[in-house]
C-alpha cells in the first residue's frame, strides 16, 4: 500500500487534468487506490505500478464521467476558476494550461495518457478501445489546437478515421 500511496500526488494531478474538478479528482483517486489494493495480486511487477494505477484512475474517471456527465462543471466555470494563481496570466504557459483544460475530453484524455503517462499509441488505443489510426488522429488534432493557441499556424488537417473538427 505504501507503494500505491507514494504515487497519490502523481495520480491526483492526472485526475485533476482529466476531471477539471478538485473534489471529483480526489474522489477518483481515493476510489482508484482502493480498487488497486483489492486487485493488488494482479500487479506482478512493482515497476509497472505507475501505468497500472494511471489506467485505474482513467477508468474510474470514465465510469464517473458516464454516470455524472450532466452534472460536471461547465467550461465557463473552469476558465473563471483557472484565473486564480498559477503561471503568470498572459504568459505562454498560462495560456497553454487554459488551452489544455479547454480541450474536449476525447483529445485531452489521449494527450494526457501519452505526455503524462508515457503510454505508447498502441497502449492508448487498447485502453480507449480505439484503432491506432483514431488515436494518432486525436493526438494530432489535440496538438494542432494547442499550436494555434501558442500563436503557431495550424498544420493542414490529415484525413483520419474520424470526422473533421
Amino acid at each position: 500500500m505504501q507503494l500505491f500511496e507514494s504515487m497519490r500526488p502523481d495520480l491526483l494531478r492526472f485526475a485533476q487534468w482529466l476531471a477539471r474538478d478538485r473534489a471529483i479528482a480526489e474522489d477518483i483517486v481515493q476510489e482508484s487506490l482502493l480498487r488497486a489494493w483489492r486487485s493488488r495480486d494482479a500487479l506482478k511487477d512493482p515497476a509497472a505500478a505507475r501505468p497500472w494505477l494511471l489506467t485505474i484512475v482513467r477508468r474510474e474517471h470514465a465510469r464517473l464521467y458516464e454516470r455524472k456527465r450532466l452534472e460536471l462543471v461547465s467550461l465557463d466555470d473552469v476558465v473563471e476558476i483557472q484565473a486564480a494563481p498559477g503561471p503568470e496570466p498572459g504568459g505562454n504557459l498560462f495560456e497553454l494550461r487554459q488551452a489544455i483544460m479547454r480541450l474536449p475530453l476525447e483529445y485531452r484524455e489521449p494527450l494526457l495518457l501519452q505526455v503524462h503517462g508515457g503510454f505508447s499509441t498502441e497502449e492508448i488505443a487498447r485502453e480507449l478501445s480505439l484503432s491506432n489510426t483514431a488515436v494518432l488522429t486525436r493526438l494530432f488534432r489535440a496538438r494542432n489546437k494547442l499550436r494555434v493557441i501558442c500563436g503557431m499556424t495550424a498544420v493542414p488537417d490529415v484525413v483520419g478515421g474520424e470526422a473533421q473538427l
Binding site: 491526483l12 494531478r13 485533476q16 487534468w17 477539471r20 474538478d21 478538485r22 473534489a23 479528482a25 462543471v73 466555470d77 473552469v78 473563471e80 476558476i81 483557472q82 486564480a84 494563481p85 498559477g86 503568470e88 504568459g91 505562454n92 504557459l93 497553454l96 494550461r97 489544455i100 483544460m101 494527450l111 494526457l112 501519452q114 505526455v115 503524462h116 499509441t121 488515436v135 494518432l136 488522429t137 493526438l139 494530432f140 488534432r141 496538438r143 494542432n144 494547442l146 499550436r147 501558442c150 500563436g151 503557431m152 498544420v155 493542414p156 490529415v158 484525413v159 483520419g160
Partner: protein
C-alpha cells in the same frame, strides 16, 4: 512515406523516431521544421501539466458567485498593480528562463557533438549568427519562449555545461544575476535584446556571458 503521413506521425508523437520517418526527414526540410516545432511545443505541454491545474470546488450558485467574483476581481486588479510594481520585469524574465530550462532537464546531459549545419539552422531561425566553435555546443533547440522562437543552447565549458538562451525580443536595462532552483544565471543586454546564461553549481557564467555578447551577431529578423 508521404508528407501527410509524416505530419500525422509527428503531430501525434513528436518524440517518435523510426528509420522510415528519419529517411523522409532527411530529404524534407518542411517536415523537419515541423518536428522541431512540435518537439518545442511538447516541451511546453510537459511544463504546463507538470503542476496540477488551479481548481476550486465549483459553485452551485453561479449568479451569486459572479457577484463575489466581480468584487474579488477588482481587489485582484489592485493587487496586480502592486505586484507589477514590486516585481521588476527582469525578475519575471529570469524566473521564466529558469522555468524553461527546468522543463528540459535532458538538455544538461547532452553529450553528442552537433553538426554545424543543425546549429546554424536553430540560430538562423531566430536571426542569429554565432562565432564560437560548434564543437563546444552539445545541445541546440529552437524553443518557443514568450511568443518567439529562441535558440536554446548548452555549451561545454571548462567548469561544466552552461545553458544559453539568446533572447532577441527581451530587452533588459542592465546586467542582472539570479539564483533559483539550484541554478545560477546572468542576463545581459545585447543588441536590441538580451542573452541569458545559466549553470548548475556556479560555473563560469560571467565569463561565458561576456564571450557570448562578443560572439553573437544579430541578423535581420527572419519573417514569422
Amino acid at each position: 512515406m508521404s508528407c501527410e503521413e509524416t505530419r500525422l506521425l509527428i503531430g501525434a508523437d513528436p518524440g517518435a523516431s523510426d528509420p522510415v520517418l528519419e529517411e523522409h526527414l532527411k530529404s524534407c526540410p518542411g517536415c523537419r521544421a515541423l518536428r522541431d516545432e512540435m518537439r518545442a511545443l511538447d516541451a511546453n505541454i510537459r511544463r504546463a501539466i507538470a503542476q496540477p491545474p488551479e481548481l476550486a470546488r465549483p459553485s452551485r450558485q453561479p449568479a451569486r458567485w459572479r457577484q463575489w467574483a466581480l468584487a474579488a476581481s477588482a481587489l485582484l486588479a489592485a493587487f496586480a498593480v502592486l505586484a507589477v510594481w514590486l516585481l521588476r520585469p527582469s525578475d519575471t524574465l529570469a524566473h521564466e528562463v529558469v522555468m524553461h530550462v527546468q522543463g528540459e532537464p535532458a538538455s544538461w546531459l547532452a553529450a553528442q557533438h552537433l553538426s554545424a549545419q543543425s546549429i546554424d539552422s536553430v540560430l538562423r531561425r531566430s536571426g542569429v549568427r554565432l562565432d564560437i566553435s560548434s564543437d563546444d555546443i552539445m545541445y541546440a533547440q529552437s524553443c518557443f519562449f514568450r511568443g518567439h522562437y529562441v535558440p536554446h543552447l548548452v555549451v561545454q565549458t571548462e567548469r561544466g555545461p552552461a545553458t544559453v538562451l539568446i533572447l532577441r525580443h527581451e530587452q533588459v536595462s542592465g546586467r542582472s544575476t539570479f539564483h533559483e532552483a539550484g541554478m545560477s544565471g546572468v542576463i545581459v543586454p545585447d543588441g536590441a535584446g538580451s542573452i541569458a546564461v545559466l549553470s548548475r553549481g556556479g560555473g563560469s557564467i560571467e565569463d561565458l556571458a561576456t564571450h557570448m555578447s562578443q560572439d553573437v551577431h544579430w541578423l535581420p529578423e527572419p519573417p514569422r
